[in-house]
């Protein structure tokens, strides 16, 4: 409700010549058409022109520390960015659920407004309180900001020894519909049905994003993962949308594989895959499996791209048992923040911080407990800062 209201308020401004000019100045590379309110046909994901920026070039980013180890790792990332002189200003908000006018608990309005203004967010791990009336906070954020694609690059890290050395896969997962639409009923006593919803619009959107991502990041191949031999109509539609979009990007190789074949091949030879695009459930499972190949959720960055902005997050849990003890591993949040910098096209800063982080992991001296080391979170942070030069 609030988003539409704000959209209505901003419509005259958005359609004015002033905004067009502003957006052209802010992001000359996007062709100047990013600021204009656009129809559905040529939706371009994550208009960077929209992100709030000062005239000095400093970007404002909404920061959601989260619960458990969230605050410590967010502080670690902030310290590292300050030391690296990254032009980011943090706008910290709290998304602890408050009771809304309808009696249900949801995100406070201040947080919603903040992300709508800044358009970019960095989020720590959230915990949804168990109980009636509490909607999943992650789901609420996703719905509110219309985040339709989840990107998870899984790259083998030097210094983290797993059984797989050559993983370099990006999983792009449709985030809004599919098996997770939550539409379930009990038809008769003892028979339950759950509905998987696939729409052409969402499939096209995520396919478009996947190919754009591949182009921008110099990826060679996009693989659509599906199960169209069984779910003929639904996955068939998803596949058709991917095929249609593939024709517009002739430089990028496109292939389609069954989900079981991908699973089979992924655990035998992960180097066969480059970018994977898939509907919600398969994406959830595959992205977690790929992060398992590189060392777990504590080392995997994740970004959610929406029509109106992007939210980067760490996907591990809140780890309440080590919260507050300075034992947390900030690598996942740090890598997500680096992804955010690339999204904002601050590539030099991103490279610097990334190299420092990789150096520390390669050396292996200041690793935290979950990576097999004995260092504290602050030791790790200081090690990364020292490698920043």
């Amino acid at each position: 409700m609030s988003r539409n209201y704000i959209k209505e308020l901003l419509k005259p401004f958005r359609e004015s010549k002033l905004f067009e000019g502003l957006s052209k100045w802010l992001a000359p590379s996007s062709g100047g058409s990013a600021g204009v309110v656009r129809g559905r046909e040529n939706e371009v994901p994550a208009g960077r022109a929209g992100s709030a920026a000062y005239s000095t070039g400093v970007r404002r980013v909404t920061l959601i520390p989260g619960h458990g180890i969230g605050p410590e790792i967010t502080v670690a990332v902030q310290k590292i960015f300050e030391a690296a002189k990254v032009p980011i200003e943090w706008d910290e908000v709290d998304v602890t659920a408050v009771r809304g006018p309808d009696g249900k608990f949801g995100i406070p309005q201040k947080a919603i407004d903040s992300v709508n203004t800044n358009k970019i967010g960095l989020k720590g791990p959230l915990m949804t309180p168990v109980g009636k009336g509490y909607r999943s906070l992650n789901l609420a954020l996703r719905k509110e900001f219309d985040l339709y694609a989840n990107v998870r690059p899984c790259k083998s890290l030097d210094g983290i020894k797993t059984l797989y050395d050559d993983v370099d896969v990006v999983t792009i997962r449709e985030n809004t519909e599919g098996e997770y639409s939550g539409i379930e009923h009990e038809i008769v006593d003892g028979v339950v049905q759950s509905i998987k919803l696939i729409t052409e619009e969402a499939s096209k959107r995520v396919a478009e994003f996947a190919f754009q991502f591949a182009t921008e990041n110099n990826r060679k191949k996009v693989t659509a993962v599906h199960k169209a031999n069984i779910m003929r109509m639904s996955d068939g539609l998803f596949l058709r949308c991917c095929r249609d979009v593939a024709t517009k990007y002739p430089d990028i190789k496109f292939e389609e594989r069954y989900l079981d074949t991908v699973c089979l091949n992924m655990v035998q030879d992960p180097s066969k895959f480059d970018v994977l695009v898939m509907p919600n459930l398969y994406g959830d499972i595959m992205s977690d499996m790929c992060s398992g190949l590189v060392g777990g959720l504590g080392l995997t960055p994740s970004g959610n791209i929406g029509k109106n902005g992007a939210l980067f997050e760490s996907v591990h849990g809140t780890a309440p048992d080590i919260a507050g003890k300075d034992l947390a591993n900030p690598t996942a949040l740090l890598l997500s923040a680096i992804m955010m910098l690339r999204h904002l096209q601050l590539n030099e800063h991103a490279d610097r911080v990334q190299n420092a982080c990789y150096e520390v992991l390669r050396e292996g001296k200041a690793l935290t407990g979950d990576l097999g080391g004995t260092g504290k979170c602050s030791d790790y942070t200081n090690a990364v800062i020292s490698k920043l030069n």
């Binding site: 098996e179 939550g182 008769v188 028979v191 998987k196 499996m289």
Partner: protein, 387 residues
């Protein structure tokens, strides 16, 4: 509704002293007449007397497509060599036909024979109203449980060693219900159906299997945090079943966490129980960990019929006819079939020969890191029989 109807049947003399946990747990000893008329809530199976003449069994063979026909050829050669008392009744299913006549014929033969050996059947037609032939076969014969016994082969080079996991997967419903429709242009709904009776049957199957085979732990894999009703029902049923088997440890795990654990630490799993789609994913992951699709075999079990097939249901069209397909999966399936039919002598003979070929002689096809052709592997197995 089913429960209310069933309670009214309790007045009948047959049911007075019998209590069933669910309508689906009724004994298979009821006569056809009783089954038809007095127990309307029990799934009706039209039983045909099974074929067993002079100590020899007749088994339906469905070669399917891709590498199926050649592998079936190898199985027939081996069986001829060892003199296994099994006669194969081959039914070819034409993948391009749109009607189901040949599938129906195949189903009738399996009902008559009781046991089948099959490859993966292709369904070339991509039309939405044509059910996948494999799914149709399983549903029609009500083979509700699928077992994949995953044991590491010491002779195959893999990243993980000594894996010993059994995957039990619900085989007929879940995401493979194949009920889809286009409600509005561009919006498609696909239904995932989970029923209490099927969940209970497969959970009971899993726990019985664990008990009879000395397994210690059953893990239910689900996604009940998101699909609260459907996977929630499956999870609840397995938890309830776990209470009836206090010796067997039971825990549950969410599917994404499970996949992550499988690639990092697969040794924590013993028996895994799950719905159809998750079963497909997990069995492919574990087969990948073990060295590929060409080694393991799976068993489809129903109350009356059993069909054996290669574990990951791959057609292998890309390698068909090139003599590099791995015949071990199909041969393992035939060993399972011999054990099911009770021909333990022949099954052991073959098992030892296959074990020796793969683990000691290491004569392997290219997909598991060897250089031999399929025929070389088969000849090696034949050579090792009796040693």
């Amino acid at each position: 509704m089913a429960v209310r109807l069933f309670s009214k049947l309790k007045v009948l003399p047959e049911f007075r002293n019998v209590s069933f946990a669910s309508s689906a747990a009724a004994p298979a000893t009821l006569s056809d007449f009783d089954l038809q008329h007095k127990t309307p809530v029990i799934r009706k199976q039209k039983l045909i007397p099974k074929a067993h003449y002079g100590g020899r069994h007749a088994v339906t063979m469905l070669p399917g497509g891709g590498i199926g026909p050649e592998c079936m050829g190898y199985v027939r050669d081996i069986f001829k060599y060892i003199g296994a008392p099994v006669d194969f009744e081959v039914v070819d299913i034409d993948p391009t036909m749109d009607n189901d006549d040949d599938v129906q014929y195949a189903i009738t033969t399996i009902k008559r024979n009781g046991v089948g050996l099959k490859g993966n059947i292709e369904t070339k037609s991509e039309a939405a109203y044509v059910t996948s032939r494999n799914v149709a076969l399983r549903n029609e014969l009500d083979m509700y449980a699928y077992i994949l016994n995953c044991k590491s082969f010491p002779g195959v080079p893999t990243r993980h060693k000594d894996i010993d996991v059994v995957i039990i997967r619900q085989n007929t419903e879940g995401e493979y219900a194949m009920l889809e429709h286009e409600s509005v242009n561009g919006v498609i709904e696909s239904m995932k159906v989970v029923t209490a009776s099927n969940s209970e049957r497969v959970a009971r199957f899993a726990f019985e299997f664990a008990k009879r085979n000395g397994r210690k732990k059953v893990t239910t894999v689900h996604k009940a945090n998101i699909m609260k009703l459907s996977d929630g029902l499956f999870l609840e049923t397995s938890r309830r079943m776990a209470k009836e088997y206090p010796d067997i440890e039971h825990n549950d795990m969410i599917i994404d966490n499970c996949c992550m654990q499988l690639v990092a630490k697969p040794h924590q799993f013993d028996v895994m129980l799950m719905t159809n789609l998750y079963g497909s994913i997990v069995s492919n992951v574990v087969c990948g960990l073990l060295g590929g699709a060409g080694l393991l075999s799976g068993r489809n079990y129903g109350d009356h019929y059993a069909v054996f097939e290669p574990g990951t249901r791959n057609t292998g069209t890309a390698i068909a006819g090139k003599n590099i397909a791995n015949p071990v999966a199909m041969i393992n399936a035939s060993i399972d079939m011999l054990e099911h039919l009770g021909h333990f002598f022949h099954a052991d003979l073959l098992k030892r020969a296959v074990y020796k070929t793969i683990n000691e002689d290491r004569i392997l096809t290219p997909d598991v890191g060897g250089t031999a052709t399929s025929t070389e592997v088969v000849n090696a197995i034949i050579g090792n029989i009796g040693l």
